[in-house]
Each structure stands twice: as C-alpha cells, then as structure tokens.
C-alpha cells in the first residue's frame, strides 16, 4: 500500500472491505444489544418515539446539502425539484413512488437543460 500509483492489490481491497463491513455491522448490531436491558426504561422509550421524524428530517437536509456542496449552480434545480417532490406528494395522495419519480425526473431534466 506504499506504492500510491500502482493498482491496489486484491488482498488489500478484500481486507479494506472486510474492515469497513465489520465496523458497519458493529455499529448496527451493538446498540440493539446494549439497549436490551434498557427496553423498559421510560427515557429509552421516549427517545424511540420522538426520534424517527427528526432523524428523517436531518437525513433529508443533509443529503440536500450534499447535492449542493461546492455546486452553487445547482441551487435552483434543487429548490424546484424539491418543491415538485413535495407538491406531487401532497396533491397525489402521498404515493411515495410517484413523488420520488416525479422529483427525480424533474431534477435530471433541469440539470440537462440548465
């Protein structure tokens, strides 16, 4: 791995993927094990009830920000496509598939013509 310009070796790629996979699995599995004895705690129950809506909002804002990062010319396409997604979702009776397809198609079109 010291030779920066050479193609990475198969052993290195497999080891890196294995390490990344084990860390990801641990992050997903350990909290469930740790929370088991706390399941009855009112604090843990309240957090579990309050968290989902906010986590989804945070994910939405962060991926929106990622789409804009370093690309100021994309502000309007992002704003318009997000507006289309929201409008279609509210007007067409919350059919997720339709709203996502409409917003994405709108964005792809805007990037192509902008």
């Amino acid at each position: 791995m010291s030779v920066a310009l050479a193609a990475p070796s198969t052993g290195y790629v497999i080891a890196a993927i294995a390490v990344a996979g084990l860390i990801t699995l641990a992050l997903r599995a350990l909290p469930f094990a740790a929370l088991k004895p706390l399941r009855k705690s009112r604090f843990v129950q309240s957090l579990g009830r309050w968290m989902p809506a906010g986590i989804l909002l945070i994910l939405a804002v962060v991926v929106l920000g990622g789409e804009l990062a370093g690309r100021p010319e994309r502000v309007w396409p992002v704003v318009i496509a997000t507006g289309v997604t929201v409008a279609v979702h509210l007007l067409a009776r919350r059919r997720a598939l339709l709203s996502i397809a409409a917003g994405t198609a709108c964005y792809v079109l805007l990037l192509a013509v902008w």
Binding site: P8, A16, R28, S46, A53, I58, A60, H89, A96, T104
Partner: protein, 274 residues
C-alpha cells in the same frame, strides 16, 4: 407457505419499490464509478454485500483506488456510519423473528430500511414483510452495481441527477412522518440540530446533528417529566388512521398504542403500494 407469510412478503415487495427507485440508479452509479476508478468489476458486488451502506461504498471506491491506508478507511467508516447507532432506539426489530431473520435485518439496516419501517405501526409489521423488503432493497443495490459495471464501457455520457432520488426519498419520508401535530416539537429540535451541525461541523454534519438532536431530546425528556402529562402524555391523541387494510400482515398485538407510538400508519411505505 402460510397465507399470512405470503401476504407479508407481498407487502415487503411493495415497500421496497418506493425506495428501490432511489437505490437502483445509485447502484448503477456505484458500478460505473468502480470501473472508472480502475478497480476490478467484482469490487461493486463485494462492497454491496460486504458493507451494504450506500454513501460509504461510494466514498470507498475512491479511497480504494488511491490505496488509502486501512486505518484511515476504518476511521472514515466509523464516522460516516455512526448514525446507525441511533436507529436501534426506534427500529421495530422486535417484529422480526429471532435467529437468521433478525440477524439479517440488523446487518441490512440501511437508512432506507429504517425510514420505511420506523413509520409503520407495529401491528402492520411482520417478520416476512420486513425481511422481504430489506432483501429486495439489497437486491436492487447489488443488481444496480452489476449493471453499472456492465454499462461503464458503453455509456456515452453520464446521466446526471439520478442521485436526487435519495433526496426525494427522505423528503417524502419526512413529510409522512410530519403528518401528526405531535411531531412538531421533534421536527423543530431536529431542524435546530441540523442547522447548528451544518454551520459548526460542515464536514461531519450528519453525526453532529444526530448527537445534538439526541441531547436536545434528553433535555425534552427531563422537562416533560416535570409537567403533568409526563413524556407519555403527548401520544394519546394520535390515533391510527387508514392503516386497517393492512390488518392481515402483522400480529394482532400492537394496534392502537403502537400505531400512535410509531407515528401515522397510512404513511411512507404503504404509500408505495400504489
């Protein structure tokens, strides 16, 4: 196969379609990226099966191509995937059968699976439904990657913007989660958290926002305990609406209180039924 399980699998298939439209094109992008980075084609499915976490896989392609030290990769993965720690607090893992189904459900707990199943009332969730949904989400991701590898040489120009499906997915999920007025305090605190995080830690906004958000909810718990209702008082008004057509797929347990607990039942994933 018992009828209830078949119905659960059918529900899982329907659940997976809504997020599949975001997952599949991103998978194609991953496959194309792998080839463009000069890595062998098998790296795409190896990433999608060995790790199965979209954003980290996309980043890992460039890290692998640059032969980044494994320790650096480990730290990066730890930081980027730290958000998963918070999913254990609300993901309905108790609805998944113990053993292999539950182990798979934990391994495959991507953002999209969390977003799909955290909003549904426990009464509508069965082990077959959740595991089928997650298996298909991974299938779209792996298949997209393979298609991307195959297309990489042929594609004339890149079709830009398909990754917006992920943005649209989370926007739609947030809208569905925000249907009940009871969610307003959580959404305000989350908005504050992500605003602070983007300003203070632009490079690590996601984990920072989740930590600030958790701290604010802990504060809310302390304050709510001082009031008459207690922290549980605010759920009683939030009755289920429109989820009854799902009756056959889940256990009878759960229903009203669990429906309220998880927010509004007629939401995200069942919206994909259409």
């Amino acid at each position: 196969m018992p009828r209830s399980r078949r119905a659960g699998i059918a529900r899982g298939v329907a659940d997976s379609l809504g997020v599949g439209i975001g997952i599949f094109p991103l998978g194609v992008a991953l496959g194309v990226l792998v080839v463009q980075a000069g890595l062998p084609g098998w790296v795409a499915p190896a990433l999608s099966i060995g790790i199965f976490a979209g954003s980290v896989e996309l980043l890992l392609v460039s890290l692998l191509a640059a032969t980044t030290p494994i320790l650096t990769i480990a730290v990066t993965v730890l930081a980027m995937n730290f958000r998963h720690v918070f999913y254990a607090l609300s993901f309905p893992l108790d609805r998944v059968s113990p053993g292999i189904p539950r182990a798979y459900s934990v391994y495959a707990l991507i953002d999209e699976a969390y977003a799909t199943y955290v909003l549904l009332p426990a009464g509508q969730l069965s082990s077959a439904r959740i595991v089928a949904g997650q298996l298909l989400m991974q299938a779209y991701w792996v298949a997209g990657g393979l298609l991307g590898v195959a297309l990489a040489g042929i594609l004339p120009a890149r079709l830009e913007g398909l990754e917006f499906a992920l943005v649209a997915l989370f926007v739609v999920m947030t809208l569905d989660a925000a249907r009940s007025r009871n969610e307003v305090p959580s959404l305000l605190l989350a908005g504050l958290s992500v605003g602070v995080a983007l300003l203070a830690f632009p490079g690590q906004a996601l984990p920072a926002a989740l930590i600030v958000y958790t701290a604010l909810l802990a504060l809310r718990f302390v304050l709510a305990r001082g009031s008459d209702d207690g922290p549980d008082g605010d759920v009683s008004r939030d009755g289920p609406s429109g989820g009854s057509r799902d009756g056959g797929s889940g256990g009878a347990a759960g229903s009203a209180t669990d429906g309220a607990r998880r927010g509004d039942p007629g939401s995200a994933a069942s919206g994909a039924d259409a």
